[in-house]
């Protein structure tokens, strides 16, 4: 199922069930004030979920290599490096979901706090000119990225405060929401373990690959692909939250929706959908790249030998609607030329 379709269905299901339940409650009371209050709830939740649906419809498929040349190159690079190292790309790729499922999504009570912590800390780093991956100062972080990070911090701080408060108080811990909010602005010690769980999972994935191959280039290609998937996923979830917040700046209600969705494995399924989308492309591209590798091998060298193999061209980008002249097209298909990118158009 496509990602947007899955999200639509899930949110529709949630909203319909919720509206039916509220209507049932309205039927139990004759008090106009209570009825109006219940109508108010329906409006709030409809707006929140409506905004989330809209964002998923507008985003389309965030990880479609047909329109994303960088992703196309990333996949091509990963597959060719894996094949050159005699590894099965799908098997390596499979480690990603295995680890995320084991380390993050199996923690059903914590999963939303872990995700929010990761999104918050990444934005926190960017706002201080620190690269969230390398944790090093980065002078080139742009004004837009910092503004975006500031917006994320603003929105996620409220949600994270609610989530952490619910988490700790449901475990009988004596802590106030104010203490949590203050900590978020300073040491962020309450969220540190949750953030650590996400980062730990990432490290574990890298280790899983480390015990399967010695090839540093393959490891780097894999890590880059992992980063692409992770960024797309986090950015999509962040987009849903921001849309919900913009529609109704009420963290206490938004967190209810997120918790509900998380309980229905929504956060896990969104990642699954993205993961499967890329997995399908890996399966499609693998035979083509294997063939190219075979063709590019020097005479006498058998497939599977990995020493001194020629550098493999990335697969060219799929046609963007505009073709070259026949002889140029031939050169392109022969791997000599790279398909140029077409523009992204904006018209009335």
């Amino acid at each position: 199922m496509a990602l947007a379709e899955y999200i639509n269905q899930t949110l529709d299901g949630l909203l319909n069930g919720y509206v039916n339940e509220i209507n049932r409650l309205k039927g139990l009371t004759t008090d106009d004030f209570v009825k109006k209050s219940l109508d108010g709830y329906i409006k709030t939740y409809s707006e929140i979920m409506g905004a989330m649906k809209k964002v998923s419809q507008q985003s389309g498929e965030p990880l479609d290599p047909k329109v994303n040349q960088d992703l196309w190159n990333t996949l091509g690079n990963f597959i060719s490096k894996a094949l050159k190292d005699n590894d099965n790309p799908s098997q390596l790729y499979g480690k990603i979901l295995d680890v995320y499922n084991q380390e993050i999504f199996s923690r059903r009570d914590e999963v939303n706090v872990i995700l929010l912590s990761k999104i918050y800390m990444d934005a926190f780093y960017v706002s201080r000119n620190i690269n969230p991956i390398t944790k090093q100062y980065d002078r080139n972080i742009s004004r837009e990225d910092k503004e975006e990070a500031a917006k994320t911090i603003f929105i996620v701080k409220g949600l994270l405060g609610e989530a952490l408060y619910k988490y700790w108080s449901s475990r009988g811990k004596k802590i106030t929401k104010e203490e949590i909010m203050l900590d978020l602005e300073n040491q962020a010690k309450y969220l540190a373990p949750f953030y650590g769980i996400w980062e730990g999972a990432r490290g574990k994935i890298e280790n899983e690959i480390g015990v399967l191959t010695l090839d540093n280039e393959l490891k780097e290609a894999f890590n880059y692909l992992l980063l692409k998937l992770e960024n797309s996923y986090l950015s999509f979830i962040k987009g849903l939250m921001a849309a919900a917040y913009n529609a109704r700046p009420a963290p206490e209600h938004i967190i209810n929706v997120i918790e509900y969705l998380s309980g229905k494995d929504f956060l896990k399924n969104v990642l699954n959908e993205m993961y499967n989308g890329i997995g399908n492309y890996i399966n499609q591209l693998q035979p083509q790249i294997a063939q190219e590798l075979q063709q590019n091998q020097p005479a006498g060298q058998q497939q599977g030998q990995q020493v001194n193999q020629p550098n493999v061209q990335q697969p060219s980008q799929p046609p963007a609607g505009q073709q070259l002249a026949p002889q140029q097209q031939q050169a392109l298909q022969g791997g000599q030329f790279r398909q140029p990118p077409g523009p992204i158009k904006m018209s009335p």
Partner: protein, 519 residues
């Protein structure tokens, strides 16, 4: 004779673009000097960030690169540099190996003055030894140190989370920042003010300064390292891309270190695009045809903006200009080439709003962020610019407020032969003074930008447009020559050769003649 080159590839910025181009120059240097200097050996070291936050050091197999160079495989060399920081042709080394490699050689070439900054492994003592009093080094300085410090402070007060920073300090930073944008550089008074402000924020014992030190200790550490480097530059040769950058750094260095550069050289930076342009004509032609097919049936005027989406780059003026043109029923097309344009940006929203409001116009975006970059494979960009030039209805606009060199503008001039309307500031003004950019197409205020664009549009629409009116072909050719990595390599080779001749007490010519006799 041993020469070491240090290429800093940690940031995807101008410094990396420079070292990528300069690699081709170094290969030329090797070709030129290997017959003139006995046992010449060139070592190329590259620094990158690793996945866990530290800095990795690599030694590139320079002989392998040279082999590719001799086989004419320029594209392969550039792919190695741009896409993988030479990974396939290098080996990882430790800090000790790097330092040994940089302490020992007879001469060293350092591609950027920020090489030891934001690297916790390299100490001040290490830097002192690399840039020793012996002075056997060239350091390339791409931008102004004072501007970097000011931009960092400005970012901190705007996007940081300082609770105690006083309005007075904020105002001072803001004023200086605006002055720099207005003038294109900081004058002596501004520099003094910046230095005093930095001293105050970095060293005074009060609430606002303490908080800044606690939260932004890395900045103080970086500035201290930068100043130390700046101080040591006096021993060697310092190279700048423009006089504006040289002047600004010379004045700043004198104020903060009390010393002057002994040998400062202003030289055009090499452009690897020139090498590609000269060596891959057929392939470029294919891409040019592709873009011609895409755009040839659209007779609308095309405006090109190429740069980061940032107010400093003048994007807001370009958007206002586009809106004003659409308002006047000019159905123009705006083409944006950018590393960071995306659907979430305010600018994207604004353009969408404008197009829907006036029900005309069309915006085309090529953006790294959106996965269709023209720069990922630079031959695409060259083909694109060539096609735009051939259409004869395209205007290139650079409305940036600060520009130390203007590489993208030069690309539009060299490959596209496009009319370039540009703001009369810093690096661009210098290009005007050199006759490279047209006097007639420079502007200072928005109104002038608008009028100039209208004027050129009028010429195109009435069939009177002749690009030669705005391009001094002789100067363009000179520019192609002076930014060609091979030609730059020849100049670098002379600088190095002369240094060695003067300082090593070696009769090089004689040595070469003796060798020839033996052979």
């Amino acid at each position: 004779m041993k020469i070491a080159i240090l290429a800093d590839h940690r940031w995807n910025s101008g410094a990396k673009t420079y070292t990528t181009s300069a690699t081709l120059s170094f290969l030329k240097i090797y070709e030129l000097l290997k017959s003139r200097l006995k046992d010449l050996e060139i070592k190329l070291y590259v620094t990158t960030f690793n996945g866990s936050g530290g800095v990795d050091y690599h030694e590139v197999d320079f002989n392998e690169l040279y082999k590719l160079y001799k086989e004419g495989k320029i594209k392969e060399i550039l792919e190695l540099a741009i896409e993988q920081n030479y990974h396939d042709k290098s080996r990882k080394i430790g800090l000790d190996d790097l330092l040994t490699g940089l302490y020992g050689p007879d001469f060293k070439f350092i591609s950027g003055a920020g090489f030891g900054v934001f690297d916790n492994n390299i100490t001040r003592e290490n830097l002192d030894k690399i840039l020793s009093e012996k002075g056997n080094f060239v350091v390339m300085v791409h931008s102004d140190f004072d501007g970097n410090l000011l931009t960092d402070l400005w970012n901190i007060i705007n996007y940081g989370e300082l609770r105690n920073i006083k309005d007075k300090s904020k105002r001072k930073i803001k004023e200086l920042f605006e002055k720099r944008i207005y003038k294109g550089y900081l004058d002596d008074e501004d520099q003094k003010e910046l230095i005093n402000l930095a001293k105050y924020l970095f060293f005074v014992d009060n609430e606002e300064a303490r908080e800044l030190r606690e939260k932004y200790g890395w900045l103080i550490e970086a500035v201290e390292k930068e100043l130390n480097i700046l101080d040591k530059l006096k021993y060697g040769i310092v190279m700048f891309p423009t006089n504006v950058v040289r002047d600004s750094n010379e004045r700043y260095a004198e104020k903060v270190t009390g010393s002057k550069f002994r040998k400062a050289i202003v030289l055009d930076e090499p452009m690897f695009m020139i090498s590609l342009w000269k060596n891959y004509k057929d392939e470029i032609k294919a891409y040019k045809d592709y873009y011609l097919n895409l755009y040839k049936d659209d007779n609308r005027i095309k405006l090109i903006y190429n740069g980061r989406i940032h107010p400093e780059k003048g994007i807001n003026d370009v958007i206002n200009l586009y809106e004003d043109l659409l308002k006047e029923c000019k159905d123009a097309m705006l083409i944006i080439i950018s590393p960071n344009m995306d659907e979430k940006s305010e600018e994207y929203e604004k353009l969408k709003e404008i197009i829907n409001k006036y029900k005309r116009g069309e915006v085309h975006i090529y953006s790294e962020q959106m996965g269709n970059s023209l720069y990922l494979y630079p031959l695409h960009l060259i083909g694109f610019l060539e096609s735009m030039g051939e259409l004869k209805n395209t205007i290139y606009i650079n409305a940036a407020y600060i520009e130390s060199y203007g590489l993208a503008t030069l690309e539009a001039l060299i490959f596209g032969k496009l009319p370039i309307i540009y703001r009369d500031i810093s690096g661009l003004r210098e290009l005007k003074e050199r006759g490279i950019l047209s006097n007639e197409l420079s502007f200072k205020k928005y109104e002038d930008l608008y009028n100039l664009v209208k004027k050129v549009i009028g010429e195109i629409e009435s069939g009177k447009f002749d690009v030669n009116k705005y391009i001094n072909e002789e100067k363009r050719k000179e520019l192609i020559e002076s930014t060609d990595p091979e030609k730059v390599g020849e100049i670098y080779a002379e600088i190095i050769y002369n240094y060695i001749k003067e300082n090593y007490n070696v009769n090089l010519e004689n040595q070469k003649a003796q060798e020839d006799n033996v052979n």
